[in-house]
Every structure is written in C-alpha cells, then in structure tokens.
C-alpha cells in the first residue's frame, strides 16, 4: 500500500493546482529572461547585476525557485509512487521509495535555501 505521508499537499486537488500555478510561474520567468536577453543584445555586467539585485526581480527569482521546488516535489512523488512500489519491485519498495523521497525533499529544500543565499548575497 502507498500512503500519502510524503506528498506535498494532502489532497489531490491542491497538488494539482500547485502543479498548474508553478508551471505558469516557471513559464513566465523563462519568457521574461529570454525576452530580456533578446531586448538587450549588448548586455553588460552592471546592467545584469542591477536587474538581479532589484527587489521585484529577487522576489520573482525566489518565487520561481520555490515553484521549481514544489513542482519537482509533486512530480517526483508521482513518479516514485508509480514505479517504486511493492507491485513492481517487491517488498523492499516502501523503504527504497521513502529513502528517495526524503533525499529528494532534502535536496529540494537545500536548493531553495541556497537560492535565497545567492539572491540576497548579490
């Protein structure tokens, strides 16, 4: 049996909504960055540093990082509960899955903290 202890939200609906909203934020960020690079073909370091140290840009970057973390958490949880199950790989599955999920959660958290450190260290 698979339980939902390591899922991000408790309900399927909240997970699903988080997936949609985070996908939107990531797309918006990508479009903005690519658009900015195209609009500024001869970008120099000071311009780039000014952009990234402005508060709105920091917030946007952080929001995107949090979106990536949430999206990856939910996505990986789905993949793991599909393929690393007792049905498919036998009785050790639960232990292996929890190991990967906790590892995944730890790495995700680390990335978010690291991102905060970078963004507010500029």
């Amino acid at each position: 049996m698979i339980t939902t202890v390591t899922s991000l939200g408790r309900s399927g609906l909240s997970d699903w909504l988080v997936q949609r909203v985070s996908a939107f934020v990531m797309t918006a960020y990508l479009v903005f960055i690519v658009g900015y690079l195209i609009a500024n073909p001869d970008l120099n370091y000071s311009q780039w540093a000014t952009l990234n140290s402005s508060l709105p840009m920091r917030m946007f970057s952080l929001l995107t990082m949090v979106s990536i973390a949430a999206h990856a958490w939910i996505g990986m949880w789905c993949v793991l509960t599909d393929y690393i199950t007792e049905r498919l790989i036998g009785p050790k599955a639960t232990a292996i899955r929890i190991f990967f999920q906790l590892g995944m959660i730890a790495v995700t958290m680390l990335y978010v903290i690291w991102a905060i450190d970078i963004l507010w260290g500029i």
């Binding site: 698979i2 609906l13 699903w16 199950t85």
Partner: protein, 234 residues
C-alpha cells in the same frame, strides 16, 4: 491461411505463459476476431476465453488484439491483422486466471468505490423522478459504458496503482452520477475523490479514449470531475 498467435496459460499444468501458434482458414472473409476464436475452440476445446452477446453489448470479450484493447466480437480481421498475423492476448495489467480469461476483481472494486447507483434520500414521488430533456442529455456519452475494462487496462496509471486509482471506466461512471440531476450526493461523492490518487493519477495520456469500443471519452469526464472539484473547493 491466417497465422494466429494466442496467449496460453493454464496454471494447473503450465509453469509459465506461452504463445501458441495456429493456422486458420477464414476463406478470405473479413470475419470478426471472435469468429476466429470460436473456430479455434472447436479444434482445441482447452482454449479459454469469455464471450456472451457476440455483438458488442455485454462487454465480456475485451482482449488485447494485435496490441490494442478491444472487443473481439466487433473487431473485424481487416482492422486487426497485420502482415497476415493476428496476435491475441488477455487485457493487460490484471491477473490471468487462464488463457484469455482475466480476474476482474480489482476493476470491479474500483467501480464499487464510486457508488454506482442513485443516491437520493428525499421521499420518492408517486410515479418517478422527472428530468428535463436537457438534464437527461447530460448523461449521453456516460451511461453507454458496458464495463468491458478495455480502457482501464490500457491505462498506465491503472497498471501501476490499480488499488488506488479508480481508472477511466470507474471515473466515467463516477461522473455519470455526478452529472445526474436526480442524484443528491454530489458533495459526498466529490469528497471521496479528492485524494492524490483516485482522480488525480490521470495524466491525460488518453489511451482510454483511443480504445473504448463504445466511442466514449473517459478523459473528458475526468476533466469535468476535476472542474467540479475545483469549483466545490473555491
């Protein structure tokens, strides 16, 4: 002569399943896959499969025919034979009882979970509970399901989590009762579906739509359920 390859497994004598090859003379006619099976059964009575109505109504002969799930009785050879070869296997993902006969318990358990009956505790009117033609029209494309399991056994999400994901067939039926104006248990039905598996394991792969022999669209019904869940939560 048509080459037919059939999945055989009799747990009482076989240590594992194998494919058995047969040659069938169809006299060049475009008969149904079920006709071929019936012909083979006369020659080899040990060959087991389910069938009843032989006209696409009962849903008992769902099989994996040349790689695609469908009803043997309404699948003509012309749409199933590739390179003079017909390959017949049981529906994938559920335990095989013998040859082409599978154990459908898991599939029915999911059907049972969605409470496939009208719930309405208000006193029954003298004659019947009426619906307007518009209300009735909402059930079209839903009530026609014959529970053949072609869709659910074509769905990867159902293969991986058949005890937690309701599957396309059950969800189509769940929506059939959510959409019924005479049913009053909408809230309770939705609450039972709001976990990360029952509905949300559907990733819109649409295998179900591709195989449904009745031309139904479980993915669309699942989308409606999701919208109802969003609306009831906001």
């Amino acid at each position: 002569m048509l080459n037919v390859s059939i999945y055989r497994y009799n747990p009482e004598v076989d240590s594992e399943p194998y494919m058995q090859d047969y040659q069938v003379d169809t006299q060049g006619k475009d008969v149904m896959v079920l006709d071929v099976l019936e012909k083979l059964k006369v020659e080899d009575p040990s060959l087991s499969f389910r069938r009843s109505c032989r006209e696409g109504v009962c849903g008992s002969d769902g099989l994996n025919i040349s790689g695609k799930n469908g009803l043997a009785c309404i699948t003509p050879l012309s749409s199933a034979v590739k390179g003079n070869k017909l390959v017949i296997r049981p529906l994938p993902g559920l335990p095989v009882i013998r040859d082409l006969v599978i154990d459908m318990s898991q599939f029915y358990a999911q059907y049972e979970k969605i409470q496939p009956y009208m719930i309405n505790n208000s006193p029954a009117p003298a004659i019947e509970r009426l619906q307007s033609p518009e209300e009735r029209a909402k059930l079209d494309g839903l009530y026609e399901c014959i529970l053949c399991a072609c869709c659910s056994t074509a769905c990867p999400s159902f293969w991986w989590n058949p005890e937690k994901f309701i599957g396309p067939s059950g969800l189509l039926q769940a929506y059939r009762f959510l959409a019924d104006s005479r049913d009053t248990a909408t809230e309770e039905r939705l609450a039972n579906l709001d976990d990360p598996f029952s509905v949300f394991r559907c990733h819109g792969i649409m295998n179900c739509v591709q195989v449904c022999p009745k031309g139904l669209n479980p993915t669309k019904a699942i989308g409606h359920i999701r919208n109802m869940l969003v609306r009831s939560a906001t």
